[in-house]
């Protein structure tokens, strides 16, 4: 074996080791939670490694008399879907305006910079103000309030990501569509959006997951009936006991929509879709 291929082999092995590390770090906690969800509370607290799997935690979470998980789940679906749609629509059109309407460069840069800086503000600092605001207009403990808050919270990320995807689309494609006889809406619908589909889908999934997992603002703006999944899960930690295993079961269930979204979205996230458009 030549020195060169030996060298290449050791590089391969090192890279493989990092991949393995990444897999362990990301999958490990999830596996621990998944296993915990099939244990009894006693088995978990004893730290037993060998155990007989039980489904009682799931039964309790889904069908228990005191459990509001199904309600939380529905709330989360509503809040995440609508706020994602809103943040995407506003982000897309604002990004389009930023990049295509010949704003001075400083306006564009300031907007995009702010979109990043906004994420440095801990959402919990906004929660108090929002609570007061929504109570003032009679939207306290209402999912509408949370939808509006999540839209605001995730709009900067949506704007920033969609702008960078929009930037990749050659302007000539839109000009070609105008010349071919398309109006503004048709150009967006038939040319820009299909080309941006991978970017739209990945941004959509990301915003959806962020909204799905958002905790502090949801905690501040909702009550028992309007709570979302993360708030619901937190309520398994009660004054007298923490229901670790039920919490784990609820966590596993709450991961399902994100996994489905990713499986569905993967079809669209094809690289190099603009290959062949220009040049």
């Amino acid at each position: 074996m030549s020195t060169q291929s030996k060298h290449a082999l050791s590089v391969d092995r090192t890279l493989l080791a990092f991949l393995f590390l990444a897999a362990v770090l990301t999958l490990g906690p999830f596996l621990w939670i998944a296993l915990a969800s099939f244990k009894t509370q006693i088995a978990l607290l004893m730290g037993t490694t060998k155990f007989t799997p039980v489904t009682m935690n799931y039964d309790e979470v889904l069908f228990g008399n005191t459990s509001l998980f199904a309600r939380n789940f529905l709330n989360s679906i509503i809040v995440a879907s609508i706020s994602t749609l809103a943040a995407m629509t506003i982000g897309f059109l604002a990004g389009y305006s930023l990049l295509r309407l010949r704003w001075p460069a400083w306006v564009v840069n300031l907007f995009l910079l702010w979109a990043v800086v906004f994420n440095l503000v801990p959402p919990v600092t906004l929660a108090g103000a929002w609570y007061e605001l929504f109570r003032g207009v009679g939207l306290n403990n209402d999912t509408v309030a949370l939808i509006l808050a999540h839209t605001t919270l995730h709009l900067p990320m949506s704007l920033w990501l969609l702008s960078s995807f929009l930037r990749e689309i050659p302007k000539e494609l839109e000009e070609a569509a105008f010349i071919d006889g398309a109006g503004f809406v048709k150009t967006l619908w038939r040319v820009v959006i299909p080309i941006m589909m991978p970017g739209l889908v990945s941004t959509g999934i990301l915003v959806f997951i962020f909204s799905w997992n958002e905790f502090p603002v949801a905690l501040a703006l909702t009550n028992n009936t309007s709570a979302t999944v993360p708030v619901g899960i937190a309520k398994f930690a009660q004054e007298n006991e923490i229901k670790y295993t039920q919490m784990a079961a609820a966590s596993v269930l709450s991961a399902i929509p994100a996994l489905l979204a990713l499986l569905f979205g993967q079809r669209f996230i094809v690289k190099g879709l603009t290959a062949g458009a220009v040049k």
């Binding site: 050659p170 000539e172 494609l173 000009e175 070609a176 569509a177 105008f178 010349i179 071919d180 006889g181 398309a182 109006g183 048709k186 038939r190 040319v191 299909p194 080309i195 589909m197 190099g272 879709l273 603009t274 290959a275 062949g276 458009a277 220009v278 040049k279």
Partner: protein
């Protein structure tokens, strides 16, 4: 098929003036090349005609109808972009169909037109492919197809061949020209390549700094350049341009000699003559002689650079000579091939 008129067209971006009052009358079915260096305003001119940019002032009329304020889709023009701008998510067929669909034609008519266009451009085998699966030349043809399938009033081309390799470029040059003649559509073709402009166009609009230097048939640009700029731009190798004094009754004094010319007045001029209009002469016949600096043999031509009265003069001969650098070469400029320009304005005076 349409007549296109441009009247006093100007364009400014902020304080920067890009186009300074362009005027042009383009006849029905005429093929116009807009030639110039990058930044001369030729692409802006084309984009204003397309409706992709607004004119600052002036008017554009197509078949007598003022379209200056209209958007691209109301002008009935088609454009082939330098980058082709094919829709990457659509097949070749869908790309060509897109403008037809927007025109609201019925399915049968669209199918017929697509088939005809594909046939004409040899694209039939590729109709179901995506642009990314095509070669550069094929993409170029799809872009052409998308333009001609609509049967527009005017074709606009924005340097459509600059992304192709040299051989394909020569082939597409004649294909585009043949196609345009067959379809008899008015065409405006922007290029920085003078060979493209001179070989393809009925008339060439040569632009410089946002102004039209000359708008004339290709041979006229070569034979009678309207200004020093045109003289220096058109022709390879470029025209020799030297300072001279026109003296009434005697001729033109330049390069330490006097070129015979029936001069009506006396003034400072720029004297021009093309390298290919110079012959090697005997000492008695010669206008000037100079020291040979370098030679370049292309097989069909022998190009010389001479040092004459402290200035470099290019000579291009179609016969072979056994010359080496350092030789003294005596030359004569062919009669009636002297170009005279006003030295201060650069305008042609003979």
């Amino acid at each position: 098929m349409a007549k296109l008129t441009v009247e006093n067209l100007t364009k400014s971006f902020g304080a920067v003036k890009i186009l300074h009052g362009l005027n042009a009358d383009i006849a029905d079915g005429e093929f116009i090349a807009v030639l110039g260096e990058s930044g001369c305003g030729k692409s802006t001119f084309l984009r204003i005609i397309a409706g992709l940019e607004d004119a600052t002032s002036g008017a554009i009329t197509i078949d007598g109808k003022n379209v200056t304020e209209q958007g691209p889709r109301d002008r009935d023009i088609a454009m082939v972009f330098q980058s082709y701008a094919l829709y990457p998510h659509m097949t070749v067929k869908q790309n060509i169909d897109f403008p037809l669909e927007l025109m609201g034609l019925d399915k049968a008519e669209r199918e017929r037109r697509i088939a005809d266009t594909a046939e004409l451009l040899n694209l039939t085998p590729y109709l179901d492919r995506k642009p990314r699966d095509l070669s550069g030349g094929q993409r170029q043809r799809v872009a052409m197809g998308r333009a001609i399938v609509r049967e527009p009033k005017v074709f606009l081309f924005d340097e459509p061949l600059s992304n192709l390799d040299a051989k394909l470029r020569v082939q597409m040059r004649s294909e585009i020209r043949n196609l345009q003649q067959r379809l008899h559509v008015t065409a405006i073709y922007v290029t920085h390549d003078q060979v493209e402009a001179l070989t393809m166009a009925d008339r060439v609009m040569l632009m410089n700094g946002g102004r039209i230097e000359q708008f004339a048939p290709p041979l006229e640009l070569y034979d009678r350049p309207a200004s020093v700029f045109v003289a220096s731009f058109v022709g390879t190798p470029p025209m020799n341009l030297v300072d001279g004094q026109m003296k009434a009754g005697t001729g033109i004094a330049a390069l330490d000699t006097v070129f015979p010319y029936d001069a009506p007045t006396s003034q400072d001029v720029t004297l021009g003559f093309r390298p290919e209009h110079v012959r090697i002469a005997t000492a008695q016949d010669a206008h000037f002689s100079g020291k040979l600096l370098s030679t370049e043999n292309t097989g069909d031509r022998l190009n010389l650079v001479l040092l004459v009265a402290g200035q470099e003069v290019r000579v291009s001969l179609n016969e072979r000579h056994d010359l080496t650098p350092g030789d003294i070469v005596a030359c004569r400029v062919l009669d009636d091939h002297i170009h005279l320009f006003d030295r201060s304005t650069g305008a042609r005076i003979n």
